[in-house]
Structure formats: C-alpha cells, structure tokens
C-alpha cells in the first residue's frame, strides 16, 4: 500500500512537474522547452481570470462556509428539538454530486425560469437577477451553489467540535456573566482551533479541486468569467491537446497547495508528545 501511494501521489506529482517543461501536445514527449509553458500561462488571460476566480471562490467559500457552518452548528447545539431533522436537511446536499448541484442551481438562477421569473411574475417587472448571465457575478453563483452543498459538512464538523467542549467552560462563562455570543467569539472558537484546522483542510482541498460544479453550472461562462484553474488544466490537457501547458498549470496549482500545506503540516505535525501515548 505504501508503495502504491508513493507511486501514485509522489510519482504523479514528479511526472507532472517534469512534463510541464516539455512541449508535449496530446501525448507526452520529452521535448524540453524550459519555462516557455509558464510564460505563456501567465500571459493567458483565461489563466489569470481562473486564478482570480479561485481566489474569490476560495475566500468566500471558506469564509461563509465556516461562518454559516459554525452558526448553524451553534444553533443546533442549543438542545433544540428536531435536531435530527435539521441536521439531515443541512447535510443532504452533500450527498448529491456536483453535477446535480450545478443543474438545479442553474435552473433556479437562470433568468428565464428561476428566481428572476418568479419575482417578476409576482409583479416586480423590473426585477433583474442576472447572476448567471452577467460575467461580473457568475463566480458568486458558483459560490452560492458550492455553499449550499458544502456547508452541511462544515456544520457537522463544527457540531462535533462543539460537543467535545468541556461543559464547565460554559458554566464558568455564565458565572462570569459573559453573554453567549461573546463566549462563542472569545472562548469557544479559539478553543476549537483543531476543528477549524481539520475543516480548513477538508474544504480547501475541495476548493482547489473545484471543477464539476463550474462545468455543470456555467461551463466557465459567460465568456471566461467563471473559469477555474482545474478546468483550465483539464481543458488544456484533454480538449486542447496541450499537455505541457496543462501540466504547467497544474504544477502551479500544486505549488500553491504546497505553500498552504507546508506551514500547516509543520504546525500540526511538529514533534509533540501526547501524554501516555505511543507516538504515532
């Protein structure tokens, strides 16, 4: 298994980096061209737009899924009734594929059928909700759909984290007369650092890889306004027969991930000793 994993993950990574310096077209060839692919990459407006979109999508998704997920979890943690029902409702989108998510949201957001039409039918003739058709907003449509699908999982993680917090902390805060929101903000959230980190890793991994959702919802359009890096990689490698370019793009993506991941790995896995445990 170790060998498999090393071959697959490390091997593929090395392969990717190596061939990103070649002029490979549909099929890999070892015809080295130096940094040509990279120069072209950063001159391509689709790539820069993709990066910008990933940044917007990433930041918004991270921020909102953490915030909404946490708020939902906090509300669910108030010993409410129907907890099972609510939890299922928040979680079920995660069971659906991005293809499905994209399809449904496309439908809801398309001006001709969706929200815009419904509001207009209600009498607001001038209402306009061009989130899918105006290139300036499409990325936000993707954020909305992505949040719909992903927040449930974040909620589940956060809820699990909240349940692991010592009851006595809550009591201490109440005795101290600290209002609930302050307790969350200044005490509970800082205590949930590990949960946040786990969540962060899980959603960032998903964000970097976002592809299906975009394809299903906007296919990158209108124009190139909702393109994302993973789609660029895929298109260049497979539709456009320019492996070298696609691999250069993925190398950039991998490097970015490494830049995010390395500090985290150092932080989380620096040698530390947990009392009474065989080190892992």
């Amino acid at each position: 298994m170790i060998v498999t994993v090393l071959v697959v993950f490390v091997g593929c990574t090395l392969w990717t980096v190596l061939y990103s310096f070649t002029s490979s077209r549909s099929l890999p060839t070892l015809d080295f061209v130096g940094f040509d692919q990279y120069t072209r990459l950063f001159r391509t407006s689709r790539w820069t737009v993709s990066l910008k979109n990933l940044a917007i999508f990433g930041l918004l998704s991270l921020a909102f899924s953490l915030i909404i997920g946490f708020i939902l979890a906090a509300l669910m943690d108030q010993k409410i009734r129907f907890e099972n029902t609510f939890r299922t409702i928040f979680l079920y989108p995660h069971a659906l594929s991005f293809i499905v998510t994209g399809l449904v949201w496309q439908w809801i957001l398309t001006p001709a059928y969706g929200v815009q039409k419904v509001v207009r039918d209600l009498g607001f003739e001038t209402f306009s909700f061009p989130i899918l058709t105006d290139g300036r907003f499409t990325i936000y449509a993707i954020v909305i759909a992505g949040l719909w699908q992903g927040t449930g999982l974040v909620m589940a993680l956060m809820l699990a984290g909240l349940r692991n917090i010592d009851d006595e902390i809550w009591k201490a805060a109440r005795v101290d007369g600290i209002p609930a929101w302050k307790t969350y903000l200044f005490i509970i959230i800082p205590m949930m650092r590990p949960v946040f980190i786990t969540t962060l890793v899980i959603i960032s991994a998903a964000i970097v890889k976002v592809y299906d959702l975009v394809v299903a919802l906007t296919n990158g359009g209108p124009g190139i306004s909702s393109e994302v890096p993973a789609k660029y990689v895929y298109d260049l490698m497979f539709s456009r027969g320019n492996l070298g370019q696609g691999l250069a793009a993925s190398t950039i993506m991998l490097t970015t991930v490494l830049i995010i991941l390395v500090p985290w790995a150092l932080l989380e896995f620096r040698p530390r000793y947990r009392k009474g445990k065989i080190p892992k």
Binding site: E168, V175, D176, I187, M191
Partner: protein, 365 residues
C-alpha cells in the same frame, strides 16, 4: 431572619426528565460558613451546586442568597463565584485576561479591574504568572487561577466543585491548606463539593453528607466523624474505614453487651440515643484508631484474641488487619512495632468512641 443566612435553600427539588435527582432539600448556610457537600459519585452534589449557581433550572423550591430570592436570577447576578474541577480556564487567554474577562464584560473601569487583579494575585501568589497561558501552568497553578477568577468577582458566596480532584496528593494537601487560609482571610461563605473525606473533614465548618439526592447528615466534622447518624455516613467517612461487626444486644448483669459470635463487648460506656433493648439486632462500628492492640490479654469483657492477617505500614503509623469474629477488621497502630501475619494479639475496644446502628433501619442507636 434570612439575613443571617448567606444561602438558604428551601424545599429544593430537581428532576432530569422523570429522574428525580434532588429531593426536597433544605439547607441554611450561615454567613461566613464553610459548608462541604460530601457524598459518593452521582449523589447529586454537583447538581445541587449548579442549582445554587443558577446553572440549572430547578424544578421546585426556592433559593435565597443574602436574603434575596435568586431562584430565577441569572448566575452572574447571584453574587456567587465558582471554581470547577477541570479549572475551566479559557485556554487561549493569559492568566490576567482570564481574571479580567468577566469584569471587562461587566464594564468595570480599568483601574478597578487592575486593583482587583492585583489583590487576587497577591492573595493567591500568582503575580508572576499573569502573562502566561493556562497551558503553561502546572495543575496547582491553574487551580489557583481558577480560584482567582472567582475572587476578583468580589462576591459573597464561593462555590467549589471538586476543585482539587485533578491534582496529585501532595498538591492537593497544599492547596487544601491554602483554601482554608483563604477562607479565614476573606471570611465569606463557601460551599465546597468533594468526595474526599479528608478534604471535607479538614475544611468544613459543617459537612452535609449526601446520598441519592438526600442529605444524610448535616453537622460539624467531629460530630460526623465520631457520631455518624447512620451506617452510610459511618462507612463513608473515615479512611481507613470504620470496622463493622454484626451482632445483637444481650443483657449481662443488667448492662447491655454487644455479642457477635464468641465476642462480647460491654456497652456500659456507650451513650445511646435510646434504650438498648436486649435481642435487638445491631451493627457495632468502631474506627481503627479506637481499638487497642497488645501482645497479652487485658482485662476480660472488652478484650479478645485475634490473628494478624496483614500489616500495612503507612509511614507514621501502620494498619494491622486482623480476623475477629470471622470478619476482617483493621487497627491503627504506631509504626514502631511491626506485626507478622499469623501472630496472635489481643484487642481492647473502647465502646465510648464506638457507634451502634440498628441492623434494619441502619440508623444510630
């Protein structure tokens, strides 16, 4: 009259769903008193403390603090400070922040906050720790900070929920002394939950021994120790534990005698609360230190023979385990003399310090 009581609990009941955890409790705690709630795990000690603090909504009854009915008050308005077993320090704040957080939220002026922290830091000797985070403190230091957090609130009543349980024996005894000193210094009311009888005995002005949501006995430590009201209190208090022998009362020359198997112990010196009727099935209880052991037989009547089973040296003294009337009993002796298993010894009981319980009701006779 309520003003003499710092805390007054009237007919308090609490149910979790259909389970009744506290049953119609009545307690009065005098101003400046140190009350310990003692009892086995699950008897409702923490629940009672949480009710007083306002952290649990009670099902029935009333709670007064300093004469004010606080039954439905928020915890912060009750004039209480609370210290928890797990310390419950806010892990990401420095000690100083931990102490001041509640005060800042309450909107106290900075100068006042500074003053109170300085005062608490001095009393608890945590001045040098103010800039550390809880993770950088030892258990004892953490607990001191937790106490400090209650202290700065400048309240009438301190509530402690097993504050020392997470500490090791040595620290536990040190902090025990500190808490006692603190109580002397501040002279405010303290209610302290523990299941460690040494803590209870050393700290309390009065101890409430609880079991199954009911108070079994509420008395000062020595009374509890020496004149337990029932078998539960007797067996729960004291380490090493009290020895018990089952038997019955017989009349011997007009004075009552406890008889178990071949053992007769004169009860002439015992001060019963009621007449000891001959034939009554009783349990005779005596503490390991209230029995003398010697190499040769003493005066007949309240002395008997026994075989040494085990000798446990405990430093200053030893506990010798013997077989008497078919039961293992322990005797506390000076550690200067070691006993060998199998050795034959003679015992002298001191009925004046013993306790006698009805075998059925288990109440003191």
């Amino acid at each position: 009259m309520t003003s003499v009581h710092s805390v007054l609990i009237k007919d308090l009941s609490l149910n979790f769903g259909s389970i009744s955890v506290l049953k119609n409790l009545n307690i009065e705690v005098a101003d400046g008193e140190f009350l310990v709630l003692l009892g086995p795990s699950g008897c409702g000690k923490s629940t009672l403390l949480n009710c007083i603090a306002g952290l649990l909504d009670i099902s029935d009854g009333q709670i007064f603090i300093k004469g004010k009915n606080v039954t439905w008050e928020e915890p912060k308005d009750r004039g209480i400070g609370m210290v928890f077993q797990s310390y419950a320090l806010y892990p990401q704040m420095t000690v100083e922040k931990n102490l001041s957080f509640g005060l800042r939220v309450a909107g106290l002026p900075a100068a006042e906050i500074q003053k109170r922290i300085a005062h608490a830091a001095e009393i608890l000797q945590i001045g040098p720790l103010l800039n550390r985070k809880p993770a950088e403190l030892s258990g004892g230091q953490r607990q001191r900070v937790a106490i400090g957090r209650a202290l700065v609130r400048d309240v009438d009543v301190f509530l402690f929920d097993e504050p020392l349980s997470n500490l090791d024996a040595k620290l536990r005894s040190e902090l025990r002394v500190e808490i006692k000193r603190l109580h002397h210094k501040l002279a405010n009311t303290m209610i302290y939950v523990t299941h460690d009888q040494i803590e209870a005995l050393t700290l309390a002005d009065r101890i409430a021994v609880m079991k199954g949501g009911l108070i079994q006995q509420l008395d000062d430590p020595l009374t509890i120790y020496n004149r337990p009201r029932n078998l539960f209190v007797a067996s729960f208090i004291g380490s090493p534990a009290m020895n018990f022998l089952k038997g019955e009362i017989v009349d011997k020359d007009g004075s009552p005698v406890f008889r178990a198997a071949d053992l007769d112990i004169s009860l002439a010196a015992y001060r019963p609360q009621q007449r000891l009727a001959p034939g009554h099935a009783v349990i005779f209880g005596f503490r390991p230190e209230h029995i003398a052991i010697s190499g040769q037989a003493g005066p007949a009547g309240c002395s008997c023979e026994a075989i040494v089973d085990l000798d446990e040296p405990m430093g200053a003294d030893s506990l010798v385990w013997l077989k008497v009337a078919g039961k293992a009993i322990s005797v506390r002796v000076d550690s200067g003399r070691r006993y060998q298993p199998g050795e034959k010894v003679f015992l002298t009981f001191n009925p004046a310090m013993a306790s006698l319980f009805d075998a059925v009701t288990e109440n003191r006779l």
